[in-house]
Every structure is written in C-alpha cells, then in structure tokens.
Subunit: 350 residues, 2 copies
C-alpha cells in the first residue's frame, strides 16, 4: 500500500512526493524501496503488487523499476485501506483463487529483516491452513500513546493467538498498564490472509463494498480491470480495513512479532529512531551549530547551515519553499496546519 499523503510529515511529505517516496532515514533508499527490499526474500517479485494513487505511477516506476506495470494498481481516488485491500484481493484471487497475501504499508521502518521474514513465513503457513485473518502484533517496548493496541487471547499456534480487544491510542496511564500486562501488542497494520478469506469477510461486514466489486467480477485479472476500476472505484466509501473488518470479524488472529518496528507516523518518531548528535539534535543532511539547543529534529535542504540558539525539542523542517518551526509536543496539529495552508494559500505548497 503506497497511496498515502503522509501529511503529518509536511512540509517534507508533499502531495506530489509523499513520505514513502522520500529517503527519510538518509540510507539512500526511500521507505518504499526499503519495504520492497524487505518483502523480496519472501515474495517473488512477479507476485509483488503495489497499490497506489494514480498520480504516483511515475514515482513507482522510477523507484521500483523491477515491478511490472501490470502489478501496479492505480487508484483513481483516495478511499482509505478497505477499498485498496479489496481491490488487491479481487485482483490476486482472479489470478490464483488459492493465493494468500501479505498486506503491508510502504512507509514504516522495520529492522531485523530475518526475524521479519521468519514471522511472515510462519504467518503464511497459518493462514494457508486455517480460515484466518492474521494481523501482526509488535511486542511493545514503551508505553506509546500514539499506537493502537491488540490484546491477545488464547494461543492457538506458536506465537499466534486469538484477539480479545483492539484499543486505539490509550492515555499514558493505560499504556503503562498495557505494557506491564504482557497481553497487549502494537497493531502494525500488517495483515496476512488468503485473498478469498478477506473477500469473504468483506462480504459479511462491508457488503456495499463487495457489491460494487462483484459487479466487475469478470474483469479482474483481465485487460478490462482498469476500465472497471476507473468507472467504479471512486464510488466506494472511504473506510479503514480495521474498522470495516478487523474489529468485527470472528476469525481474527494476531501473530506476536519481535522485529523492531516504527510506523514513522510523526517527526518525533523519526527523531526517536535517528542517530542524535552531541547536543541530542537529529540533523538530516545539514550542518548545524547549536547553542543551548537540544532535542530538536532538524531537516533542511542538503548542505544548508543551521545555527540554532535557545530552542529545545522543536521540529525545524525546511524544504526550500516552506519552513516549519514547531514544538515536537505540538506535532499532532501539523494536519490542522496543512489544512490552514490549503485554506490560505491553496494547493501549491501541500
């Protein structure tokens, strides 16, 4: 899944070039390319399907030249994850009715690729033998209040359990209780299932969506698919797969995973996952002289000199045409700021 706009990372993440297409960690590979590299040892490249917004077609082709054009599904509109996943599932099932699939965002940070591969292979094994919708739960390492949590129930296979509850963004007190209990795992938004299983669940819990896709059932996997999607995809209701299916279905399981994971959802997350300099500032690509300035996340055009004095725990993000100076503690309001920019100055700087 590669169609998001990453507005919480504005002004670095822009509608024309969202977060997943940026070399956010300074590794020389974009987050999308790092996701591709991670999946390639598990899924043959001819079976890797990228679902994205139509406007990013050329970015995908440029960054993932090994992906065949017919494996790039171009959404004509943004409708959140449920329609995106439904389309991918109909597409894959048409090519192979028995296919199982992993659904993964393209803009997360995951390290420990062998642990990741072992985990995914174990998950495939489970969903191929069971009528199961499997979500990966990451063993939490801190009482993070920005993530969703999954409470596990009964273990039904090694590392795989039933789900008791899904909880969105708890407060700190609750997050601490979750962490101490050992029963709660971070919801990574990475799913494994047979294509037929998720379509069956969508029939049950989001029939409007499957009614729409079923109208084009003959087209999937054929040259007619593109025309059907162009004509119909925008009619889907925007909905997340968590809300549409995962929080409702009875055959949901969680696989407890130990790879290091971060959704890089915010500047603070990027700060936390980056190497700090001697002043505890994180500096992407710049030269910095800091006076009484610590804990800042500084991202500016390559080679720029930044002199900061008397500023702590701020985001300083400069893209040449936009400069954002904002406390890390206020980063949840960046979405609002982006909306204000749209109101005041139009689309150009989004």
């Amino acid at each position: 899944m590669c169609g998001g706009v990453g507005s919480r990372f504005w002004p670095y993440s822009r509608e024309e070039r969202p977060k997943q297409f940026i070399d956010f960690l300074g590794t020389g590979r974009s987050l999308l390319q790092m996701s591709y590299d991670r999946i390639l040892p598990i899924v043959p490249k001819e079976n890797i399907v990228v679902v994205t917004n139509a406007r990013y077609e050329s970015l995908i082709r440029e960054q993932l030249p090994d992906i065949q054009p017919h494996n790039i599904l171009l959404e004509p509109a943004r409708r959140n994850t449920a329609p995106c996943i439904a389309w991918a599932a109909y597409h894959i099932r048409a090519l192979d009715p028995e296919a199982s699939m992993i659904v993964t965002p393209s803009d997360h940070l995951i390290t420990g690729e062998t642990v990741f591969a072992d985990c995914v292979n174990r998950g495939f094994d489970f969903v191929e033998r069971n009528d199961a919708l499997l979500t990966l739960g990451i063993t939490p390492t801190r009482p993070d209040t920005g993530y969703g949590y999954i409470q596990i129930g009964r273990e039904t296979a090694p590392e795989i359990s039933t789900v008791k509850t899904f909880t969105e963004k708890p407060n700190l007190e609750l997050a601490k209780v979750f962490l101490a209990s050992g029963e709660f795992f971070w919801n990574a938004g990475i799913f494994l299932w047979r294509a037929s299983a998720i379509i069956e669940a969508l029939h049950k819990y989001d029939p409007d969506l499957t009614d729409l896709f079923d109208k084009g059932i003959e087209s999937f996997g054929t040259p007619a698919e593109k025309g059907f999607i162009t004509a119909n995809f925008a009619s889907c209701n925007g909905n997340s797969i968590d809300y549409a299916v995962m929080e409702k279905a009875k055959n949901v399981y969680v696989e407890c995973a130990n790879f290091a994971w971060n959704d890089l959802g915010t500047w603070s997350a990027l700060y936390d996952n980056s190497t700090k300099d001697g002043d505890a500032n994180v500096v992407r690509d710049a030269r910095v002289i800091a006076y009484d300035a610590t804990g800042n996340m500084i991202a500016v055009p390559s080679g720029k000199l930044v002199v900061v004095n008397g500023i702590r725990d701020y985001i300083i993000a400069d893209t040449g045409d936009v400069l954002l100076v904002c406390p890390k503690s206020e980063e949840q309001s960046i979405k609002q700021m982006v909306s204000d920019v749209r109101m005041k100055y139009g689309e150009e700087l989004l």
Copy 2:
C-alpha cells in the same frame, strides 16, 4: 561611508553583500540608495563621495550609477572610521581647501527628510562660520541601552551646544536617567566640519595617521592618489573617529536633531522599526501562518511560506543557504556565532 560588513545582521548581511547594499526595509531601495536619496537634495551629486572597501566597487556602481567613478574611494583594507574619514578629508580638501563636508554612514534609517535637510543645512552654516567639529545628536525617544549618548553643555547657537560628555551604551537605569534629564542625545555618528578642521584635529590627536597621509599630500586629487592609497592605507591603525578625535578635541559641538533615526544595528532594531502583522510578528517578504507565535522577526527568501508554532520573540532568518533561529534577546551573540561559523566551516557562508 559604505565599507562595513554588518555582521550583526548575519546571515542576511554577508561579506559579499553587506547590510547597506540590501533592501532591508522592503522599500525597493537599499539602505545605501536611501542614504544617497537623502543627501542628494543637500549635496550636488558631483560632490558626493563614497568611501568603501575595494571589494564593493561593482556593488556601488550598480546601485549608484550616477556617482562618477572618481568619486568612489576604494579602501584596500578595513581600518574603521578614522582612516576612512581622514582619506575623504584629504581628498576633498585637495579639490577645495575651503570645503565643508558631512560624514554619514550608509546603513542607517532616517525618516523625515525635510527635517534632516534643515538640520544638515543649519550645521553646514555653523561649521562654515566656526572652527567646529559638529556631531548630530538625536533627541532620544526611549532609554535605549545600545546607543552612545552625548551630554550637551552650553547652547552656542540655535540647537547647537558644546559637549559635556560622551557615554557609550549605558545600563537601563542610567539610560532612564539620561532620557529624563533632557541633556542627553543619541550619538548618530553623523558629522559636519570643514575638511581642513578635521585634518587639523587629526594632526593634534592622531598624528601617526596624519603623518602617513601627509607623505602623500601631493597626490590627493590627482591620478597619483590611488597608487598612494594602495601602497599606504593598510599601514593605518584601525581606529574610530569618535575615539581618535571626538572624545578628545575641544572644539566639538552637538546639533540637537529631531528627525527619526535608527542605526538598524540589530535585528531587534529592524523589528522595532518595521510594521508588525496581527501577531506582532515582522515578516519580510514571506507568507506566514503563526500559532502561539508572536514578537518574531522573520526574514526568509521572497515568497517562502513560514509556519511557526510556539515561538516568541525570536529571529528567524533564512537566506537559502543559512537558517538562523535565535532569541532576539541573544542577538548580541550573533557576532560570536559568525566567528564560530568561520572556525567550523570557513569563509563560504560569511
């Protein structure tokens, strides 16, 4: 006088293009051009002499195309105001032994040009009739601790008095007393005198300097002047005219002036003299959205969007290659920062 580097306004004021050459107030004219415009009604343009550092010759020619090249005195080295003024005085006296002159910095803000012209003309009248070194004293409007003050003595002509004391940068308590007394005026660094009078005073109080210039006495006003200066100017000791002469000479007078004046010595001074937006931010040339952000001096490349959150009374100065974020209260350390930049990264960004 147009040869300074204006390092307190770094990164906007750069060695390659110091403050006086910049359209600092967004009027469409640089501070130098505004100074020229102000003098032009008083001094015929063929009598306006610009003294600057040799490296700024092309900037002067570009910004003041009406100044004849022989009226641009190019210093081969920076030696503060005493050698600069001495050269100009020797040059002017050679062309007209009876000439009187006004010496003025090119990077100050002055409004009320008619009041200014009246004041200067009254001053010329005084120095032409008296053996006097006249300095302009600005009626203070606030207890500024960044300026030098002149205490006036006995009034010897309308608005013109003898000088009791010169006082550099008083503390706030003292500055308040000065303001209340009505006896203290800001030292604007603008001087009027006959060329022969200042040379005579230099002979008395800075004989090393006049010894040096006297060696080339035959060259001034001739094609040989340039060669003499090239060979000798760098041997002058750097010294300010205030220290060399004004604080020592007995024939110093002050003319009390009422035009609005600011030396634009600091970002705060620019802030104080600029129009504020609804959040009390001063914004040069940019588009700004401010959240809980007031009292800031924001200068960024033309048209750039700045989004600031939770930041008060800061300087945010972005020149494309350099970004400075610094509390206004820390601006006296900008010179030190520039020095640190030189140490760490060399001359390129100065």
